[in-house]
Symmetry: C2
Subunit: 143 residues, 2 copies
């Protein structure tokens, strides 16, 4: 299947990355990734599914979970855990922090540079750091 009609740079990544891992570029995986690329609200699996199937049926319930797993495994998307029992997804895989509104539940990205002064050299001994992020909770401008 040829997805090159979409001319955005980011979108080409899915083709490159999946192929490089020997995985197939299917319309379902493409739709999920593309949907996630064009929204910034960190949706759940179910929210993506509802959005994609709004007009015509695009993919099934089982496939959205498999697609999200695959996209996560190849590093195209990442999971965001800020709320009990809710797994959200983010197509922005470059390092950044997260804010969650305690009232409305909205999630916003916080630029990496915001905490550029954060130093982690005083960690308990024996721990080797591979990644970290700051989770901020509070109230957003609308609440």
């Amino acid at each position: 299947m040829n997805f090159h009609f979409v001319m955005e740079k980011k979108v080409d990544e899915i083709i490159t990355v999946l192929k490089s891992k020997g995985l197939r570029v299917t319309s379902q995986r493409f739709a999920v990734y593309n949907n996630l690329l064009h929204r910034n609200d960190h949706p759940t699996a179910e929210e993506i599914l509802r959005d994609l199937n709004k007009n015509a049926p695009t993919l099934s319930q089982a496939t959205i979970y498999l697609s999200l797993q695959t996209l996560r495994d190849v590093g195209l998307i990442r999971e965001v855990l800020l709320q009990e029992g809710v797994c959200r997804y983010d197509a922005n895989v470059s390092p950044h922090h997260h804010f969650r509104c305690l009232d409305c539940g909205a999630i916003e990205d916080i630029p990496w540079e915001t905490f550029s002064n954060l130093s982690i050299d005083k960690l308990p001994t024996g721990l080797r750091v591979e990644q970290y992020e700051v989770i901020v909770q509070g109230k957003c401008d609308r609440c």
Copy 2:
């Protein structure tokens, strides 16, 4: 029911706090809180249940979830979300950060002072901070 035979200061808190909210001090709520106080491995609901029912049946499956909810609502314990689909609990409600080992899944507390240099005054406008924590992932000393 009289729980004062346990002489630790922390344990008295559950009586004070529950009573002040008009909630009852039951043996089940007490057992859950006490169990959580005496372990530092951030267990899941199911792990607490298994531990408490190891010898004699102490509480039921439904009750552990209700008790954890209640204890969270009154601020005696807090949830820790570091892993997809897994809700863990922590009786340490004073501010601190968390480390998770990507190999064995072990979770360790990181003292608040570790990131004392962290400043959050450059946040995107309109966000009011109420709490924050740093999530660190990597490898622990055993892995």
